[in-house]
Symmetry: C2
Subunit: 557 residues, 2 copies
């Protein structure tokens, strides 16, 4: 007689919503998924609690929206799966990162404390909060000047998106919030804290976003040189407990059981990051295989046997993707976000009408029309920096460029140029890895953009690499469920879980030699523009950004 | 008893239509105007006669559309003015340039000859036919290598839009057409030929577009070095007769009287160019005052007492604007065309709906929304090269650039950046004149864009110059009517006619010191991008253009 099926739940906390998936723990079969949108979405213009305007480049969230995901999406997924909730043996989670919030010692977010509710710095800073660039600049300049050993582990630059930049911004712009917070905690760890009552940091975000290398944070001496009040940041505002991915963080509390409808006491896995957790979901735990999670932005993760310092990568962390191996991360801050911006801001009525008449999306229409032409027939090259550049330039004050327009240029040509720009950005990253002795032999795509066949083919042609595709609509949530299965002891470790539960379709897209060589020519133009705006004259876009900020503050003269 | 009023008719042949204006000859009062659109408009995708596709960058017209303007707009204007046609004492015309057509010895366009009707090279090449860039390149390289004395009179570069480039293209791509044409004639001269039966060249286009300097064309030796078959081009394919502006070309023929309804035998003025004829229409015949005719493109004309060689100007021609003085010309190939492109290709439905609801144009809506913000608040800088760059780079393979986009960028911000880009382009031209010892103390605007107040204010702020505005909706046609009045002997010369009939409102827009200094910062970024794409890496956009052309020819791989 067969053993009754054991199930695990994975919950993926994205930028705008959370998704829960119910998975069979032995073989990874996905039974049902449910999504719950954050009521407050992303607050970038105004603070929801007061309606007060926010400065440029801010992006906040409400942590209670995350609890609502536990209370809505998890029971809905379990109900849709038609399983007995008592068959669920573990829950795992992944989050956007670096998404951080200031909390009291018991985990209460400062944004819930009446005294701080009107203070923007009391709220969750979403990964794409980009207002800490001046702080990141100082972090980088000082680290470079002092020769801090950890700097090269981050490609030579710490992003303004990361924990120390965001923390320094709080200290300097809202010292009262900095003083009031007992901890600055990754949302990835906060949600686990809410599930099992245990405060600990996962090795992944502690390394990639928290500058933890070789078991240590940046020295007090260095932090004091940034700002004397910052000296004890790592020692006092970060949890000292760090746990490896796949470990059991604790057991589901009665409160969390009430939220989720799952049995109290089941395994809760250590927190993880949406991108990193997707590698094992695609069955990838071995070197040479780059996994790109392509959605609003793209994260590239890769496992390595040895340490290499790749210029412009986001980071390399031991155990950052799978325990016992080095995990590499790189990223593109804007990908699907750029296409969405274009459809919302740049596409004239007749395209919308045509899409409506054919009952397809404007994205589909633009993709189809754009794909009909030969490579380069549009004469356009774009720099994919609408949201700045994470890799390899690590500068969120860079901005988008579109070049080559004539009076004959049509919207679907611009759309295709934007898609190509993101592929060129990916190629630049692959080249940086190869140049540092970490060659990429296969490109594995996950995330929402895998549904766009012409886009995937464009990437294969631009990269001159075969592209495999994750065989799941819910890569991160599946990966979280796999970590739940490991935490619950169903599989011995994440390597075994990836083998048993991972899902991939190999070599779905093959590069075409003719198109690849045509793209080589466009890529050469891209590179020249990339180096001009991104390196030689980086100052130009910083000036634009600074003019923009001053003008926005002072209003029309 | 007062003398009965004498009238003159001016006809302005534009890119898409012709306009006739009836003017009182003594004081320039405009009585009525009528417009007639060209049935075949601009043929850039297909040849109207056969439907055959045209290569990229072509732009053709049908000369019979010009005759239709004489036959429709002129009688309509006379009827609307309510005057007795017998009170009309002269007719003057102006045309786009360099707009040329191959004709037989009697003036019959080759496009009317059945044997040549299917040949694209038999038709009128409109000013913005840009397919002769390789020919212009060779003209320039050879002239520079040989130290041809006339090259500096054209800012160091002959445009692909001009007569010799277009003629060389005909010779090399369609030698049978070249052989069959008895003349290659400016449309400005062809229409005068049709009106009075006299074949002659006006001093203006012969100089600016036909490389006639100090009474001579480029030498046969030089032309032979370009192509042996081209040696006798100037000697054989151009009319030897050249006449000054304001002269009487001849008398209205019976045929032309039948078309226009005007009395046979009245004065027909020598042909002119739409831009140049506008200077006296605004009353400008003196140095230091730049007249900009701002429409789909912008032409800048200025009178000078002495000869100076301005880098990147279109040309300097003795008698090119008013007899006896040097006339300077510079230009921007795309201005209103770029805004129209953007409205047609880049503005999403909600803007169209909002404009419709308020019963204003999309241009007006975008202008109003864009003008509400402070200078630089959009963080954008564009290069206004959608139609190439006429001055000061003289390269029609340059193309448009838009830089600084973020996910927060909105369409009205892009529209404003495009307007500003054209103002920066104008500033670059003014700077080139000042740098060559031809300072500009006043900027006088004419053309359709003078109706856009925020745009005019933007130009005043960017240029840091007061802007005066022509006080006529029909500047070129008024200028043509003034030349008709001179040809008919109503006024002694064009200086007297400009005094009596010219119309201007002085200093309508004054620069604002705060905005001017804010624009200085954006202009510095513009200049850096201008020099990168236009000078240091001019090759980049040429590569894009050449990739585009190859891809368009060969189709999708």
């Amino acid at each position: 007689m067969a053993q009754p099926a054991r199930h695990v739940v994975g919950v993926d906390f994205g930028t705008l919503s959370g998704r829960a998936v119910v998975v069979r723990a032995d073989d990874g079969t996905e039974l049902a998924v449910a999504e719950h949108a954050y009521a407050h979405a992303v607050m970038s213009e105004r603070l929801g609690a007061t309606g007060a305007p926010l400065p440029p480049n801010w992006a906040l969230q409400d942590p209670d929206d995350y609890i609502d995901v536990l209370a809505n999406a998890v029971p809905a997924a379990v109900a849709a799966a038609g399983i007995d909730p008592s068959s669920v043996v573990g829950i795992g989670t992944d989050f956007t990162a670096c998404t951080v919030l200031p909390v009291l010692a018991d985990g209460t977010p400062l944004s819930r404390v009446p005294a701080w509710r009107a203070a923007p710095h009391a709220w969750v800073k979403l990964w794409r909060h980009h207002a800490a660039q001046p702080h990141a600049d100082r972090i980088n300049e000082l680290a470079a000047a002092r020769g801090e050993p950890w700097l090269a582990r981050y490609g030579g630059r710490i992003s303004s998106e990361w924990e120390f930049a965001k923390a320094l911004q709080i200290l300097e712009e809202a010292p009262e919030i900095y003083a009031a917070m007992d901890r600055l905690v990754e949302a990835a760890d906060w949600i686990v804290w809410q599930l099992c009552g245990a405060e600990l940091r996962n090795e992944c975000t502690a390394g990639y976003k928290g500058i933890r290398q070789d078991g240590r944070y940046p020295s007090e001496d260095y932090l004091a040189a940034l700002n004397p009040g910052f000296a004890r940041f790592a020692a006092e505002k970060l949890s000292p407990a760090v746990a490896p991915l796949g470990a059991r963080a604790g057991s589901l509390t009665a409160q969390a059981a009430a939220w989720t409808g799952l049995p109290a006491g089941i395994a809760v896995a250590v927190g993880n990051v949406d991108a990193h957790v997707t590698a094992p979901a695609a069955g990838v735990t071995a070197p040479g295989r780059m996994v790109a999670i392509m959605g609003t932005s793209t994260c590239h993760v890769m496992v390595g046997e040895r340490l290499a310092e790749v210029p412009g990568m986001c980071g390399v962390v031991e155990g950052g993707i799978v325990p016992g191996r080095w995990g590499y991360e790189a990223g593109q801050s804007g990908v699907g976000d750029i296409f969405a911006w274009y459809v919302a801001n740049g596409v004239p009525p007749e395209y919308h009408e045509q899409a409506r008449a054919r009952a397809i999306s404007v994205h589909e229409l633009l993709t189809e029309l754009g794909a009909a032409a030969a490579v380069g027939a549009h004469g356009l090259v774009a720099l994919d920096w609408w949201s700045g550049n994470r890799s390899v330039l690590v500068d969120h004050e860079l901005s988008g460029v579109l070049a080559g327009m004539t009076l004959a240029t049509r919207p679907h040509e611009i759309y295709r140029a934007l898609v190509e720009a993101t592929a060129f950005g990916a190629r630049r990253i692959v080249a940086a890895f190869a140049g540092a002795g970490v060659p990429v032999s296969e490109f594995i795509a996950a995330g929402g953009l895998i549904r766009n066949g012409p886009l995937m083919q464009c990437y294969a042609d631009v990269l001159d690499l075969p592209i495999s595709v994750i065989d799941s609509e819910q890569g991160p949530a599946l990966g979280s469920a796999m970590h739940a299965a490991v935490a619950a002891g169903v599989h011995a470790d994440i390597y075994a879980a990836a083998e048993a539960m991972g899902r991939i379709r190999r070599d779905v897209y093959q590069p075409d030699a003719g198109r690849t060589s045509a793209y080589d020519e466009l890529y050469a133009v891209y590179l020249r523009m990339h180096d001009f705006f991104g390196l030689e004259q980086r100052d130009l876009m910083r000036r634009l950004a600074s003019i923009r900020e001053r003008a926005s503050e002072h209003g029309a003269p």
